[in-house]
């Protein structure tokens, strides 16, 4: 087996780039030669950047450098033996941890799907609160072609779109384009590639104007209903609790409109 420590080898490279845009940030997956597949080193950098963003930005854009959005977790690294068995097992954990960090992050995440999103690239779209796609981007879960179930991208897709649409992606392994993804609600909108970043920045700037405490609680409420609170009356009560929590934290004077 090769002696190979990806962290020391790649740490000097910027595999993930953070751009400070004032009240919002833009995170770019920067491994274009590998279709922005996230190897261990890239995930370490992404996790560090996510931590840096906590409490600093109300909105964060996630996008990819070059012509791909994200080809998932780097499969080559697992296959070429550079990751030993226990490390491979940790890597499985590592990816769900990375995804969980985004889910629990106080910022609103906007995926700007600039190009192909495959396998775990789709789980990145799913965990982002909002997503805008290049209409020509191809999105797919090819795992079934390799006799497997999309470990993280499968369940996260099933939680986001309707059954027939999830079945299509998981059972056929076929790719859909950005326009279809918008029709299915996997992303919010599909736009021509040239307009993508402009649209994503407009969304992020708009959200960044809102009260960050309110944004954080709203994100939590969206995550909880209907996933945890599926009953109508309980959901409405939960909504009142969320509103009360926000009022309590930011003060009534900021909450009430100045004029009626």
């Amino acid at each position: 087996m090769k002696t190979h420590d990806p962290e020391t080898n790649y740490m000097s490279e910027q595999l993930v780039v953070l751009e400070d845009c004032g009240n919002y940030a833009c995170i770019t997956l920067n491994r274009p030669a590998k279709q922005n597949a996230l190897n261990r080193a890239a995930q370490v950098q992404l996790q560090d950047i996510l931590k840096q963003c906590v409490g600093r930005y109300a909105a964060v854009i996630l996008t990819g450098a070059g012509s791909s959005f994200c080809a998932g977790v780097d499969a080559d690294e697992a296959r070429d033996g550079s990751a030993s068995a226990p490390e491979y097992s940790r890597q499985g954990h590592m990816w769900s941890e990375t995804i969980e960090m985004i889910r629990k992050h106080p910022s609103v995440f906007v995926a700007a799907v600039n190009g192909d999103a495959l396998s775990d690239g789709v789980s990145v779209i799913n965990v982002c609160d909002l997503a805008i796609a290049n209409e020509a981007a191809e999105i797919g879960l090819p795992e079934i072609t390799r006799a497997s179930y999309p470990t993280i991208a499968g369940p996260s897709t099933q939680l986001r779109i309707l059954r027939k649409h999830a079945s299509w992606m998981i059972l056929t392994g076929k790719r859909i384009d950005g326009r279809t993804a918008a029709r299915w609600g996997l992303v919010n909108a599909a736009v021509p590639a040239a307009r993508l970043m402009e649209e994503a920045r407009a969304v992020a700037e708009n959200i960044a104007k809102f009260n960050p405490v309110t944004v954080d609680w709203s994100k939590k409420a969206i995550d909880d209903i209907p996933a945890h609170v599926a009953d109508w009356t309980t959901a409405l009560e939960y909504g009142r609790v969320i509103t009360a929590a926000i009022q309590n934290q930011i003060g009534k004077e900021n909450f009430m409109p100045k004029k009626f």
């Binding site: 390799r146 179930y149 499968g154 996260s156 027939k164 299509w168 056929t172």
Partner: protein, 248 residues
């Protein structure tokens, strides 16, 4: 049992089941559902993909009401001795727990039980001129199985519309709300369904079976994000264990 109410055709790695009671709009009679159950049983472990379609103008007009009403007049004896219960078992457990991937090729009108069949199939293709309906409210009843199965497949407002208005959904409507995957001209329907079946049948049958199970579990049983992701890792481990393949 002498009549072939269910036609069965086997291809290299998938099968096509065809409802064959066109003069009754493929309404489900007891012998017909029984024949269907036998065919489904035969397919277990033999075919990874099954296409369900029908002969004639209709896909399936639901449970044969004439037969059901006679049974009601005679009075219930044991559970399972009437067409409705047999159909309920077929939809509720047999197809759901079947290892094959099911594709509905909706050639024409799908009413009541026909709509349930569309809902239980993993994928569905529809002829452009076909319609789906759950018109039971007209007779003062709630579409027990067809309504409920629609509610667990599409969004709330989209399920409420056909249930409360009794209006049929066109193929375009059904595609829009995600009740079927896509619509094609009627003369291309079967070819499209077979091509899709052959495409899916090239994949590992164990992986397909577990993918189907995972689709059934999330979100209906597992709605929590973190638990769903952990379940995904479990499914992948089981597939690797059973296929002996160390893919990702």
């Amino acid at each position: 049992m002498s009549e072939d109410l269910i036609l069965f055709e086997e291809f290299e790695n998938y099968a096509v089941i065809t409802f064959n009671r066109p003069e009754k709009l493929n309404a489900l009679s007891s012998p017909m559902v029984l024949q269907l159950q036998h065919r489904l049983d035969e397919c277990r472990g033999r075919h990874a993909v099954i296409v369900i379609t029908a002969r004639g103008k209709a896909f399936c007009a639901g449970v044969d009401l004439k037969e059901r009403n006679e049974w009601v007049r005679k009075g219930a004896k044991i559970r399972g001795d009437n067409v409705r219960n047999k159909w309920y078992d077929t939809m509720g457990t047999i197809i759901r727990n079947h290892p094959a991937v099911f594709i509905a090729a909706v050639n024409g009108l799908a009413l009541g039980g026909g709509a349930t069949l569309v809902n239980i199939c993993d994928l569905a293709i529809m002829a452009e001129d076909a319609e789906i309906g759950v018109p039971q409210i007209r007779w003062g009843i709630y579409p027990g199985i067809a309504g409920a199965s629609t509610q667990v497949r599409v969004l709330h407002k989209h399920a409420a519309w056909p249930i409360l208005t009794a209006r049929s959904l066109t193929a375009a409507d059904a595609v829009d709300i995600g009740m079927v995957n896509f619509a094609v001209p009627a003369d291309k329907l079967l070819d499209e369904a077979k091509a899709l079946a052959a495409h899916i049948a090239q994949f590992d049958p164990i992986a397909l079976d577990w993918c189907k199970k995972a689709l059934d579990q999330i979100p209906s049983h597992i709605a929590d994000w973190s638990v769903a992701l952990e379940y995904g890792r479990g499914v992948t481990s089981i597939i690797q264990d059973q296929t002996g393949k160390g893919g990702r």
